[in-house]
Point group: C2
Chain length 434, copies 2
């Protein structure tokens, strides 16, 4: 019999199965996660709110009750821009210190309906933007964990929780996942209901997941969307992979380039048909277009805070809001039309490829905690509304995790998860991930 | 000199100009609106919250301060699904009795930044759905004002406020406007930021406006989007109007049919090129497609209420939520893809027409307060994300208001407002409206 994993290292689906079978209690599992947090939180600082007694009370209630659903008794973390009725929701801003919403965000309530224990709230950059909290990278506390879902990335990577919710408007799910060596998944825009999410830029804000394996993502998708839960299956037929360096290639450092090539080679060796895909030249304005969305919609979503609490808004966000208010409606509408056209064009890419393979980020997590990294490599896909996933792909030149990113056609999330499973299980990418 | 209108009958832009010129105080204007409310609210029941002293305090503060912007000192009403930091937000549901959000919805905060006085909250059907509040039609208290923006429609029609915010997921802005004989405008999807709106079905929920003239809509658009304010101009060149009976024509009663023909004849006589436009046959499933969006997204946005407060959810909404949970993801995704295809096809309609002209509703407001009317004639355009406006077009067989609806291409809201202005000012439709 294989050596038993420490409980706090269990995956979501694995833990749910053990609890359902009676081999594990929710209390034991949650206790193990809390013990891990107690041991490591002083360094990692992943949580904006954690109340061990409250988490244990939820766990004990699960242990006493009949199963509520497929997440019965398993703990998850919730990014602190998502409302919770029983925990503060502070959004990384002193404006909301101690703020208590009346209800749970839809995704939190759906997870609870399925039996999940809400372990606590994870640190977010201010309003899911650019100004980071205190979280450090679990692999090197002098480095950023990425952002804005900083706490979710660090907590999952550090085995404090098997899964955490994140949100992505630029690169806020995939970048922290890549920097922390775990899996980050942003589904097709609109897949997970956003009721109870504090908007950053509402026409691109997407709720996503950070976890340590693909099955856990599929399980949570099933809970949030009502889809039947089917464990991801590495496809038997040869995957057609488009190696996509993007117009951002100059930003990819040696670590990112090596990781991408290594993943492409491994995929090729494992039987995939890997060919180079060149984006159409006009896609090179997608980064600037996303900035227009980001600025205009942030400005128009935060007028209350801008009016009443301007002194508590960071300089970075203030610049974005000012840029948003200064952008003409004509430029914004043109950006919307352009994005829509590109989304339809992007659908057609996937006539020739099952998935695209591209860097997950510029490289390893940068040193310093004041800057959560460049969202460019993630943000263009956020604008395109495509489902996208970051998979760990070894270490970079400083020994830090480096990820690669897979992208599929809008609404083909199942295909994306299966391809990611293939890349991990068959091609051996992410082999060293726990 | 023309007879002075009673103050409570002033339009938004007109009142703002008088205040800016020093000819009128905000206090006098708000007092007049409050007096009208005091006189009529016992019958009309348009407001879920009104605090005369608080409204007057806002008005007096405006009178003492330098102008904050183009709405300085003018009162507006806010549908009670939009958050207000200083008034309850109850969403037409006993679940939220006395609920006090921490902040203002974005549209409310933007209006306040421009100097608006928030007069109070207007009655909404439960969660902007099908279960009506107590509001009556100002033209006949035995009839529905329409819904779900019931209070906004009735308050504007009854001269209690020059303008009120509404929201439309099916027909919730245009139908109450049509039933109450005023103008209802749903902009292109995504035009007004939705931060602080309680979602019904997030991929079609659209914040809109109810007012008594087109200029007031243009002014509020400018405040909410940052567009330059340009008063609507009835176009000089001949309008190309597509007379669109839609696949719903069997639902249009004699009043609706007569009003549409009368408006078409008046437009034709005034110089418009009016020709019949037939929708493609597959558009006839748009109503059923919108129902899928409505059910699935309501179910997925209200899991907290469904878990904790199910007994307080109406039978109508419970049926919608149950239908939503029972709908397969595959059917929902297919509905999304179909809607997106139709949106792009709908853009092309407007190569041949400046606007379409269609019934605003099935006919006059039905008798009874338990049913806010059929959303079909409005809902298909909501799904299509097109901008759309209901304009009063005379009286029906029972002497109640009947409207017609104009539709333009997505993002061509300026053209829509100009065409509506033309229909009113040049073609004489809505001539009898105050």
């Amino acid at each position: 019999m294989a050596q038993q994993k420490p409980l706090h290292e269990l995956g979501l689906a694995e833990a749910a199965r053990l609890i359902a079978s009676g081999a594990l209690t929710s209390e034991a599992l949650v206790s193990a996660c809390l013990a891990r947090i107690a041991e490591r939180e002083g360094v990692v600082k992943a949580w904006s709110f954690i109340d061990p007694e409250a988490a244990l009370a939820q766990a004990r209630a699960c242990d006493k009750a009949p199963s509520k659903g497929p997440l019965h008794g398993v703990p998850i973390g919730v990014k602190d821009v998502l409302d919770t009725h029983d925990m503060p929701t502070e959004m990384g801003s002193s404006i909301y210190a101690g703020h208590r919403p009346a209800e749970d965000a839809a995704c939190v309530a759906l997870a609870r309906m399925a039996g999940a224990v809400i372990l606590g709230k994870t640190v977010t950059c201010e309003f899911a933007g650019m100004a980071p909290g205190a979280t450090t990278n679990p692999f090197d506390a002098t480095r950023t964990p990425g952002g804005s879902s900083s706490g979710s990335g660090a907590a999952v990577a550090d085995f404090m929780t098997p899964l955490a919710f994140g949100t992505q408007t630029g690169g806020s799910v995939l970048r922290p996942a890549a920097f922390c060596g775990v899996i980050g998944y942003k589904p097709t825009f609109g897949t997970f209901n956003r009721a109870g999410l504090k908007f950053a830029a509402e026409s691109i804000d997407t709720i996503g997941l950070i976890a340590r394996n693909i099955e856990d993502l599929a399980l949570m998708c099933s809970v949030l969307t009502g889809a039947a839960f089917v464990a991801p299956v590495a496809p038997e037929q040869s995957l057609r992979i488009g190696l996509c360096r993007t117009y951002l290639w100059d930003k990819a450092d040696a670590s990112a380039r090596t990781a991408l090539q290594r993943a492409a080679d491994a995929a090729s060796k494992a039987g995939a048909l890997v060919t180079t895909y060149e984006m159409p030249p006009h896609f090179s304005t997608l980064t600037a277009t996303r900035e227009i969305f980001n600025n205009v919609e942030r400005a128009r979503s935060l007028p209350f805070e801008w009016t009443h609490h301007r002194a508590q808004i960071s300089a970075a966000l203030s610049r974005s809001i000012e840029a948003g208010f200064a952008t003409s409606v004509e430029d914004y509408v043109q950006a919307k039309r352009f994005a829509e056209t590109c989304r339809i064009e992007a659908d057609a890419i996937f006539n020739d490829y099952d998935v695209l393979l591209t860097p997950a980020a510029n490289g390893e997590a940068p040193v310093g905690l004041h800057y959560a990294g460049d969202p460019s490599f993630q943000g263009l896909w956020t604008l395109l509304h495509t489902p996208t996933i970051a998979v760990p792909a070894g270490k970079g030149e400083s020994g830090m995790p480096v990820g690669v990113q897979l992208i599929a056609r809008r609404y083909e999330d199942k295909k994306l998860l299966d391809a990611a499973q293939w890349l991990i299980a068959r091609a051996g990418v992410a082999a060293e991930m726990a």
